[in-house]
């Protein structure tokens, strides 16, 4: 063999040996290493010099070999297999030091004023912002990472920046910085499950910063100031003379509409429900996100010239083809995931069984269901918690959440669980429903079984196993199953040419969010499955970027 191209991932001992072997047999070798220097970390004891380290003579050979290209400080971004070959996209992080010029004089590290956590040495020592890792084989580099909070945030908000402004008392500057990327600071300030706070470094010291509530603080100042409106700074792009249709007025659709309108496109948002906002309007109860907060931020999108048509169902009568015929040049599908997942147990269709999303939607649209006195909710997510807390507010006296795993595995956010418990919701862990018992086809009680935790499943959570003979009944007036939501794609006609995934979500090119049909994009829960609002907003913003690209290329 020979004359082949080989990629070796990992520049340690094994990688170096493989690289030499491959190069000797005549292949072209790419040696990829994640850290700034090759050599690996394996320790060997050298009898002669009494040193403990790994300095392989192979290292020099690799460096000199013309058939080996060393790519350090790099990550693999994407691998695609085609025709028996691999197309690989590699990202080489900037090291900001020109190796050929550097003569290892250490002048820079002597003066660098920044002491950082030293990753290479497991945090046992400091490193300076500019530093080398390996003194045998110095590879200088500058660390300039995005802070963890910003990296974790789906829209990559400059959290350090806007919090710094709050600390300085400059609230307007703070909000302006947020609004550069996030069109709905108030909504996120009220309901974001704040993945950033999980990562916050302050959490290692005592408690993480309340990033979400700080955002709410600056965003609410503006909302309250609405009485004496300030001139709004909007820099709108030149009118592009092109129209885009967005199906679904949820966070993804509105964020996309916002960004496209700013770019100068004419945007119409089609919403099936009577109110815009998607799950924000019909999923999240008012006690978490007050209606006026939501409406004010949606109004801010309308102000940009976006038309939101409620009570307009796409499908029969108005298909995607019709939209194109009406002069829309691109379509963004973001219909969310509003269909309740079925429990698949007998009696599920009895009266008095109201799926969580349906219960919350009816309540939010002003026709609340009568839940009676005793309510059981099945599930461990935020929809389950919301349903339980709403049932309590609807007058139920006895509300119990049944969850088949333990508190540890519960996907709902801790603060929601705490609040529910505070308000008097009971939670029974390790219980699964078996059968809905009915009288006159109305629910009377629920037969359950106790569970115990077994081995972890594919999601990494421990799988619950039924405990034999532990069945018991719970008497109730209303049963609210809330074990998950799926997108409802029945509005797509076969002729729409839009492909779905095995999971029933819309298939897209992950880089551009474009579907199998040119000019049609999709994002948010209907493309990813149920997620959090800020992820949907991120998807909407991404779609806006690629829709713009698509329309400019047309």
């Amino acid at each position: 063999m020979g004359n082949k191209a080989v990629l070796i991932i990992g520049g340690g001992l094994a990688g170096i040996q493989s690289a030499l072997e491959q190069a000797e047999s005549g292949n072209t070798v790419y040696l990829l290493e994640n850290s700034p220097g090759i050599g690996g970390e394996r320790l060997l004891y050298d009898e002669d010099s009494k040193t403990v380290d790994f300095v392989s003579p192979d290292l020099e050979k690799v460096k000199k070999n013309k058939n080996i290209r060393i790519i350090t400080n790099a990550d693999i971004e994407k691998v695609e297999e085609s025709n028996g070959k691999f197309d690989i996209k590699i990202k080489k992080r900037a090291i900001r030091v020109i190796e050929e010029r550097c003569d290892d004089c250490k002048a820079c590290i002597k003066v660098c004023p920044v002491n950082l956590w030293d990753d290479e040495n497991q945090g046992l020592s400091f490193r300076t912002a500019i530093d080398f890792f390996d003194h045998v084989n110095p590879s200088y580099n500058i660390v300039r990472e995005t802070p963890v909070c910003q990296r974790t945030c789906p829209v990559h908000l400059d959290i350090r920046g806007y919090i710094g402004f709050i600390a300085d008392g400059k609230f307007e500057e703070s909000l302006a910085l947020i609004k550069e990327v996030l069109p709905f600071p108030s909504i996120c300030g009220h309901i974001c499950p704040h993945p950033c706070e999980e990562e916050c470094n302050r959490g290692r010291v005592d408690y993480p910063l309340s990033i979400r509530d700080l955002k709410r603080f600056v965003a609410d100042i503006e909302l309250q100031d609405a009485l004496k409106p300030k001139p709004l700074m909007i820099v709108k792009g030149e009118d592009k003379g092109k129209k885009v249709a967005i199906i679904g007025a949820g966070p993804a659709g509105l964020a996309c509409a916002h960004d496209l309108a700013l770019l100068g496109y004419g945007v119409t948002v089609f919403e099936a429900l009577p109110r815009p906002g998607g799950m924000l309007a019909v999923g999240i109860p008012d006690y978490r996100l007050p209606r006026d907060v939501l409406e004010k931020e949606i109004d801010a999108v309308s102000v940009l010239g976006v038309e939101i048509r409620c009570n307009t169902v796409i499908g029969k009568g108005l298909s995607i083809d019709d939209l194109f015929n009406k002069g829309y040049e691109a379509v963004f599908i973001t219909v969310g995931a509003h269909k309740n997942q079925e429990m698949r147990i007998p009696g599920e269709d009895a009266r008095g069984v109201i799926p969580g999303v349906t219960f919350l939607r009816d309540l939010n649209l002003g026709n609340p269901a009568d839940v009676g006195e005793r309510v059981a909710v099945i599930g461990g997510g935020n929809v389950a918690i919301d349903s339980a807390r709403c049932a309590l507010r609807q007058g139920a006296r006895d509300v119990t959440i049944l969850y088949r795993r333990s508190r540890q595995e519960m996907p709902a956010s801790d603060e929601e669980i705490e609040a529910a418990l505070e308000e008097g919701v009971k939670i029974e862990y390790l219980v699964a429903p078996l059968q809905v018992l009915t009288a006159d086809s109305k629910v009377t009680s629920l037969r359950c079984i106790r569970m115990e935790l077994g081995k972890p499943d594919t999601s990494g959570r421990r799988r619950p196993i039924p405990v034999e003979g532990s069945e018991f009944d719970i008497e109730l007036d209303t049963l609210i199953p809330a074990i998950g939501q799926v997108p409802d794609m029945s509005f797509l006609e076969e002729s729409s040419e839009i492909e779905l995934t095995k999971r029933g979500t819309i298939a897209v090119n992950p880089d551009t969010l474009e579907t199998s049909r040119p000019g049609v994009f999709a994002g948010g829960d209907c493309q990813t499955g149920p997620g959090i609002a800020v992820e949907a907003i991120a998807a909407g913003k991404k779609a806006a970027v690629f829709i713009d690209k698509y329309l400019r290329g047309k």
Binding site: E41, V52, A129, V136, A167, D206, D220, R393, A419
Partner: protein, 298 residues
Amino acid sequence: MVEEKKRYILEFPDISAERQSIQELPVEERINNFNEVSLGFTEDAAVKEAKRCLSCRRCLGCGLCLAECDKDAIVFEQADEKLDICVDSMIITTGLERVCSPPPERFGYGRYANVVTDIEFERILSDNGPYGGLLIRPFDGEMPRKIGFVCWADNNEGRGESGIKSLSYAIHEAMLAKNKVDGLEISLFLPDNDDYTKELKRNDGKVPGISTKEGGIMAIKEIQESKNLIVQWDENGNAREDEFEMLVLSTMPEPATYIIELAKKLDINLEDMRGDTFSKEIYFSKVSKQGRKRSEDG
């Protein structure tokens, strides 16, 4: 580590150490209405909370290094580079160093200053490491005379194999440490598990001068003053204890997350590929079926 960072924070009296709490509607006022529960921060609390932000450090962009560099070798504006390559096959020989499950809390890692992981210990041993090859404790820079190595079994399914691999790694490090320092006393603690005993026997020739305790550890305590560690273990049903200046905990090596994702994507079974974790590198063979065939040919 935590303690140390705490001091770092408390140095600045202008930072309120306490997390500021938001106002909330009292529970009794919540039922029967849908008024918002959380009332948010007051201005005062918001500013105090914002001041808790550490403004996490990274390169300041001050340009002092460039000013000092005779060779003009520093380029602040260098951007990330994207490369597209096309290859016939791939070989994955990636390291494991940063992807290790943390050891259980009962061993005191993170709480006790002189309990380190095997990976940290490896850095300590290295002439290239944080202490320039001096075998010293992270708490006070003293040279320990008595070190305990602790291997533990993970009950999580699928980790058994790597747990045993971690034993050979512990032995390897213990030998390196012994070679480095004359007269170093080393004890090796094993879980009460036949697989480990077998693996130890397999390594028998390699562990002269290391005393092994196979009964499993009952408790680890830190002595307040010296930060030495008292280890209690089970020896044939009797509780024994001894004092160590430093403890080294084994970690379960795991392949890096992006490798797991890559493997999933290319539909290969990582378990098949997991090779000699002893060297902290997984030797995967070629990852495409085609590629693997080539490797056999070659």
